[in-house]
Symmetry: C2
Subunit: 304 residues, 2 copies
């Protein structure tokens, strides 16, 4: 099943004409998971043709404004659109009380339930959102303030059934095909056909990690382990290494090193300092460490 | 001197692909006054080529989110841009304490002074911002919550000096021309030349009124009296008159009636319900009452 990753904002603290504050949508089966929600996210969703009513959960990394100032407007709009489905918001401790104090936003009276899952700064690792098809896990990463990285992972999927092989063993009924796929044995012409005979090994689900804002760190690598796509903080080039350390961000080459050591399949660089009107120095630097790297382009769809 | 009015957001509560939440810039001598600051305003300023560092004052009409949710991001960005000039924010009582509670935004530690002028709900009329060249006045208008309308007005300007006439009376020195223009008499060849002899009548300064969100009301008309341009709430057409009353907004024809009765020179319709993807019904309706009407287009510059 196809999963699209759509960066909606790839700027660092100061937005530019080309880059919005942080936000990224994961689109799966017509539903959306939103990672960060900087100012203008609801407008970016419109531009991307993504309906905000389809959002199931929002994951905020940390409480710097460029990562959550779009939340108030988005919640207001969802309320005005008569949303009734519940919405989950996962965020560091503190966000809920802030939202409660915003005039013109009645968090308790939005017309739909908002489930807040607040992450304490003692967080180690936790599954913060579950769905019949996948989980999202959070771990603390290393920023100036408490910041959480997230890993989205689909459940393992049954292996492929080999229809040719099944038919050779006498399987013809649709119900039998489905039962074998579910891992059940079936009886055909007095003979038992085992699922192992016709179904290949279980396949891993697709996975994605969102790791920003942070220094390169162990938890970033754990979140990114073997993922199909890793979105990672790449605020600076190595020229500004000292600045990356000082502001607790990563360089493009550090992001690439995380991807390489975690065995990620692809790396998407993001959270760019406003100084990089042209992102190619970031890309070149990262590719020299990890070839399968791209620069996150806002509104472009990256198929997982 | 030229003054530009630049609508940055003309949507009502729900933004659309084409229309952002409320905001409008008045640009005079390279400086900016901002009326309302809905989500995405700082991004719209970038698109309009207007430097946020040039904002002298921000006037918030009321505390519904679509009129101020862009303020937190704008203030953060100004701080990151190392602004040092003071900034004035005029807004209904309550905004300051909200901004103080927003994590990731240290209102007291922004690096520049923010002067909050909070409007009590007992406001009658008050000059809320002054500058050597103009004043801005606030009056309460009629919305579901306390809402303020604003009138910008330049000071009266000296009349035009007729150089031909002055020369005929023997005036030749630059200093004498300047003195006459200032309203002082000068002595030329033993004869007194009075300013009245060579300078025309004082000219009114340019003026602009920002009146939204509101029902049509007396204070709206007072704010708009004789202005060069009136921006007025025109959320609905008359078809939805009952809805306008219920939500305390105005119809296009009501906005036009305010402009007509106030003797405004031009009317700019704004704050459109998302149902009007095409604004021409609003325009036609208003023009049948007040001919000199335009539909506010975002990022277009309207010369006062």
């Amino acid at each position: 099943m196809s999963i699209d990753i759509v960066p909606l904002g790839t700027a660092s603290a100061i937005p530019t004409r080309e880059r919005n504050p942080s936000a990224l949508a994961l689109v799966r089966k017509g539903r959306i998971l939103l990672f960060d929600c900087g100012e203008g996210t609801q407008l970016r969703l419109l531009e991307a043709g993504l309906k905000p009513t389809r959002i199931d959960a929002i994951f905020i990394t940390h409480l710097h404004g460029d990562h959550f100032f779009g939340l108030m407007g988005l919640l207001s709009t969802l309320s005005l659109m008569d949303r009734t489905e519940p919405l989950t918001i996962v965020a560091p401790v503190g966000l809920y009380s802030v939202l409660c104090d915003v005039p013109g936003l009645n968090v308790e009276g939005l017309g739909f339930d908002v489930g807040f899952r607040e992450l304490p700064d003692t967080l180690q690792h936790e599954v913060v959102f579950e769905n019949p098809g996948y989980t999202v896990e959070a771990r603390p990463i290393e920023h100036r303030t408490f910041s959480a990285g997230y890993r989205f992972e689909e459940h393992r999927r049954p292996g492929h059934l080999d229809p040719e092989r099944a038919r050779n063993l006498g399987v013809t009924a649709h119900a039998d095909f489905r039962a074998l796929k579910r891992g059940e044995e079936v009886r055909v012409n007095g003979r038992v056909v085992l699922p192992e005979e016709v179904v290949g090994p279980e396949r891993p689900g697709q996975s994605f990690a969102y790791v920003t804002d942070t220094r390169p760190c162990e938890n970033g690598r754990v979140l990114a382990r073997g993922v199909d796509l890793l979105y990672h903080d790449a605020t600076f080039t190595e020229t500004f290494h000292a600045r990356a350390v000082e502001t607790a961000h990563s360089t493009a080459s550090e992001a690439a090193d995380v991807a390489r050591r975690a065995g990620a399949k692809r790396l998407l660089l993001g959270h760019f300092s406003a100084r990089y009107t042209d992102a190619s120095p970031l890309l070149e630097e990262a590719q020299s460490v990890f070839q399968n790297t791209e620069v996150a382009e806002e509104l472009k769809r990256y198929l997982l």
